[in-house]
């Protein structure tokens, strides 16, 4: 217990177990405990990232660099009003001593602040200045990044259909020749690879007709291959979700149930009773007919006025 942020003390373990089980109650049905815990988590997350934003980004990357040295000019024992006067004096002194540094950080801070004008309808255009700068820079970097990311894959797609054994020089199989015999397994691998690329690309060619049998057949194979890929995506998604779930189960079984709950014969009866209760609850809940959806009383009230004379309320 206690590796990598896991709860250490008894109350932490109990709190973590309570929250874990509370969140998992959603599997049974939606409930107030689940919603309350969810809201707490959202609130904690927002507060946490606000502090991280200041402590890790704005503080060290802007504030400390621009104004951090001012603290040295303020006497340690000075009273609050005196400190404020000292601080203002230090600001002006700093500006007069380092005018270009001040202008540099002022412009950077100003540009960064322009993002917040997205919240204003009237001055929205100001935010477009920095958006334009970001998009321009992003496009240039994106072009370079995409090229370096995808170009090796394009070149790797050109594979010999009849290939010899792979070597450091020919990672997908050397071209077959007098001294290079055919490696049938590697060749089959390359044929599947090239066929997949060809068929999937044909499937996405929408600019010409798919009436011809060859094109239609290739596109159909491409669609099946895509579906197989989506199946692989889904399988990997389940693996991730399962790992997240198992980590919590491990915590409950190992850290909570085995180490914090006293191991007595009575506890096993309690676990057994809990399991029976859970099964009975699921059984009776699934037998109950589903609740009918609420019928709206009137539809007329929800209608908005339309036409030239209509005004927004």
């Amino acid at each position: 217990m206690g590796i990598a942020g896991e709860p250490q003390t008894l109350w932490e373990v109990w709190l973590a177990a309570f929250i874990t089980i509370g969140i998992y109650t959603f599997l049974y049905s939606d409930n107030k405990l689940y919603r309350a815990l969810l809201n707490i988590m959202v609130g904690l997350n927002v507060g946490y990232w606000f502090i991280v934003g200041w402590k890790q980004v704005l503080g060290p990357k802007w504030w400390d660099l621009a104004w951090g040295t001012l603290h040295a000019h303020i006497p340690a024992g000075a009273a609050w009003p005196t400190r404020a006067v000292y601080w203002i004096g230090a600001v002006f002194s700093h500006i007069s001593l380092h005018p270009w540094a001040f202008i540099y950080w002022f412009i950077l801070g100003g540009l960064g602040t322009l993002w917040y004008f997205q919240l204003s309808h009237r001055y929205l255009w100001l935010s477009r200045i920095v958006i334009g700068m970001t998009v321009g820079m992003g496009a240039a970097v994106g072009f370079k990044g995409s090229f370096l990311l995808n170009a090796p894959q394009i070149t790797d797609s050109f594979r010999p259909v009849l290939a010899g054994s792979p070597s450091p020089l020919w990672s997908n199989g050397a071209p077959v020749g007098a001294s290079v015999p055919v490696d049938w397994l590697q060749s089959a691998n390359n044929i599947i690879f090239v066929t997949t690329i060809f068929c999937v690309m044909v499937y996405f060619f929408f600019s010409f007709s798919h009436d011809k049998k060859t094109i239609r057949g290739s596109a159909s194979i491409g669609r099946w291959l895509l579906m197989i890929t989506f199946g692989a995506f889904f399988g990997n998604t389940i693996m991730t979700r399962m790992a997240i779930f198992l980590e919590r189960v491990q915590f409950l079984v190992r850290d909570w149930a085995q180490k914090t709950v006293p191991v007595t014969p009575a506890i096993y009866y309690a676990y057994g009773a809990g399991a029976v209760l859970l099964i009975a609850a699921i059984y009776f809940l699934t037998r109950r007919p589903p609740a009918k959806p609420p019928v709206p009383e009137t539809v007329e009230e929800e209608r908005q006025p339309t036409g030239p004379g209509a005004t927004a309320s």
Partner: protein, 286 residues
Amino acid sequence: MLDFLIKLQKVDRRWIYLAVAVACIVPFIVPMRLSVHPSRETRGVYEAVEKCPRDKVVLLDSGWDAGSLGENMGQGQVIVDHLFRRRIPFIVVDIGGSAQGPQFMNAVIKDIHDRKYPDRRYGTDWVNLGYNPIWGWQVITLVAKDIHKAFPKDYQGTKVDDLPLMRRTHNIDDISLIYTVNYSPCEDYISFVHGVYGTPIAFACAGIQSTTEYRFIPPRQLVGMLVSARGSAEYEVLMYPNNPEMRVSKGTELIVPMTYGHLVIIFGVLIGNIGYFAERWKRRRV
């Protein structure tokens, strides 16, 4: 019989949840072992670490936190174990991942250090440079050019010039391998480090993310990849082929319950499809 088969596709989801829960809980209570066979992508990472020289460092980008602990923690544990064992120095950074990344990785390192390699020293055998919030190419490029500028202090606030390992590590020429552990590793390492400098890159990622990252393995843009908890379980098999009792990573702990959980889901998919085809058959008969 046909009606029973049709009902199979309408099993209440809570019964399936219960079956998955039982399949997952029992292996934790009753210890079991299954054989694990390392995949090609896991072997790639292992062989890359085996080839690393001792006079260069491995850059370990760790941006995971509690949300992906089940998958990423084991991936961090096995690489730290391997690097400590081979006495290859490593530098932990967190470039744009979770702000808790360095803290989580530090706990993993401390655990392995205390249990297995107490003679390894901070500052000489490893360094944790902490968190840099800027995700992507800006910091990655800066690390490649001058790591001291990207991280002037370590996570404790010590100046990097005061750390012996950092005094001999300046830029990408001093880095033999970049290993990034994250729910979704940053692909800018491939573009802006491997694409420019040719430094080997290895990913350790969540299973959900692996499908999009496999494409980097055939063209050797990635030397290998650890996928989910199974990646770390496979890696430990390579590290301790004849000592199963030494395999204690999170991945090894989770791989057996994960297998049984997957079996229940496969069984659920099968019975759902049986019900679907039975219903279709009945409709055709009518």
